[in-house]
């Protein structure tokens, strides 16, 4: 685990720096816990225990309470994530337009289930409620990019594209 964390640090050096600066910048502003956690997650890809300790020291909120906040929100992760996060939408519009078929195609291609990461660490799959892109359903997001009007075939092509880019 630690090893992975070190690798992340190397890869995301500047973001890691951002997280530290955020902590330094903190000056007792109320309600800063969630933005700090978001910043930690941005830096590491998840929230490692050490970050909880750091934040706890700075904002003077007990670690247990911070843990409670982390587990309440679906955005926060306590485990390392893949390099690319796939969010497959299962909102109402996507659901009635056969998003289950899209999810199945993803599961088939990636050989992982919901909330799991591929062995090569390239992809993490997450089923989410609604991406707000209902008129182009079914929809998924890979990192911050949204892809609409999906078919299982299109999903396979997209994944292939991403894989080729990664291997290049």
């Amino acid at each position: 685990m630690l090893q992975k964390e070190e690798i992340r640090k190397e890869n995301t050096g500047s973001q890691f720096y951002d997280f530290k600066t955020e902590l330094w910048k903190y000056q007792g502003e109320k309600g800063a816990l969630i933005p700090l956690l978001q910043s930690a997650q941005e830096a590491y890809g998840y929230i490692p225990e050490s970050a909880i300790d750091h934040i706890s020291e700075v904002v003077e909120i007990p670690g247990a309470e911070i843990y409670g906040v982390i587990t309440f929100y679906s955005q926060f992760r306590l485990k390392p994530m893949g390099k690319n996060i796939i969010k497959i939408c299962d909102g109402t519009a996507c659901h009635v337009n056969a998003s289950t078929g899209i999810l199945r195609a993803l599961v088939d291609e990636l050989q992982i289930g919901n909330d799991e990461t591929t062995e090569d660490g390239l992809f993490t799959l997450q089923k989410v409620a609604c991406l707000g892109c209902c008129s182009l359903s079914p929809v998924m997001m890979i990192n911050d990019d949204t892809f609409g009007r999906l078919t299982p075939k299109k999903v396979k092509e997209l994944l292939k594209e991403f894989r080729t880019k990664e291997n290049a």
Binding site: Q38, F76, L131
Partner: protein
Amino acid sequence: MKTIKVGLGTCGVSAGGEKTYEAIKHEIEKENIQVILKETGCNGMCYREPLVEVIDEENHSFLYGDVTPEKATRIMIDHVMKNMPVKEWIVQNSGPTEDDAFFQKQRRIVLRNCGIIDPNSIDEYIAVGGYEAIRTVIKKNTPEQVIDIMTKSGLRGRGGGGFLTGVKWKFCRQAEGTLKYIICNADEGDPGAFMDRSTLESDPHSVLEGMMIGAYAIGAEEGYIYCRAEYPKAVARLKHSIREALAKGFLGKNIFGSNVNFSIKIKEGAGAFVCGEETALIASIEGKRGMPRFRPPFPANKGLWDKPTNINNVETFANIPWIIMNGAEAFAAMGTENSKGTKVFALAGKIARGGLAEVPMGITINEIVYDIGGGIKGGKKFKAVQMGGPSGGCIPASMGDLQIDYQQINKTGAIMGSGGMVVLDETTCMVEMAKFFLSFTQEESCGKCTFCRIGTKRMLEILERITDGNGREGDVELLQHLAYQIRNNTICGLGQTAPNPVLTTLKYFPEEYEAHIRDKKCPAHSCAPLLTFSIQADACKGCTLCAKACPVEAISGEKKKVHEINVATCIKCGKCFETCKFNAVLKN
């Protein structure tokens, strides 16, 4: 010089708008064309994305739909360079097009600038009269007068509650204390609703201006926008817009040269549906678990950090500058007795023309579905609309003449909600639909109230066994019993409305529940465990398409000979049914 605008809201981008934009840019550079290239938000015609508008030297607008990079290149060459519009791709123009019907019954107030101005430019917003409302209000009106205008306009909260905005502001104005907060609820969580995302992406300044007017009215100097983390583009645009407004002196100290101060901060949500509820949202901004609390005290008296707080949603705020500029009477002239103005609906699901439609209150469901939405995709039969997301319900097609206003919708058992309207056709199973929503609320329940935490779980289990073909006699009554208990024994909107999808489907589609429970059949042929797939020998041409489509190789047969499905390996995915061109695959 011609102007070219490319729609780059999230819907435009996900339909490939960025590639189209690049293609246009490439063409401009390659041919050294003298044009102004801009990006804009979404005009609501999501079903035609990517959209590209060409405005010629005489200020004539030509809106092109479904513009792929290849089409964009041809538009650049034929229209922009040679002045020959590519007529067959035009979706909106001075002349009639088949897409005109999408706009005919609309009345655009909230979406007045969406898809028209560049959302990244405060100057474009100012050019269409932006920030005039707040300027006027500060110079000419007392806060009480502003509240009075809102009350007279009859504007009701567009986030779902439907509470009178003017009255809400008055409570907060009258609350004791000098430090007050105003919050914009941009935590649009209802699956099937996307009007707030689109408004924030396409016209963020109108929301900021609405907040400023609200802040002036209640006496707040600090505002927060609580935006969903799932909307990165909206967050980025908001941050940019706030910087622009600060630079112009519209935000900060002594705005518009008055003694009024106002600043806005953005808080990104962290993924919890319940945070759309006022008290939960406040807890989340405070950095806590987003759990609702008992009311009273209401946020108007004791809200963020125990100070008087007013919360309105994005659509409500976007209405406000228009009301100030055009008067309360103009707003109240639209709509019905108890619901004034317009409402934005997010049309999605099995509809031919999905997108955002802003219509006057009082329009009928049929008018939205058929006249604006163009009816059902693929010529199937219209079955129901799902309104109000997981807190709402399904209204059957037989009630299509129902006039849309808060009261009428509530009477059906559904709710107006934030305005998601998911259209369902005959292939949608209503029991499955109820199960879908229940699984959503069950997952999103914060766990505070026992009836919501455990009751929804039990209801979901019952629905699961019904759709799996293991339903029992008495299940319907059990569902009803649980539904009433949950509704009456929970403290927030999420729990109180969670049973609505089940109750409305039970009310309007009882025969579907019965068919699942008694006959072990799904009338919509949707619940997989209740289906068997087979191939009709006399209709099969042996084209092998189904065998190729089958993900588990359950279909065998030689080319040009009748194929067969191995029931034991079949996973009932329905691929063969979808691919067969001869309707030879049967599901029963």
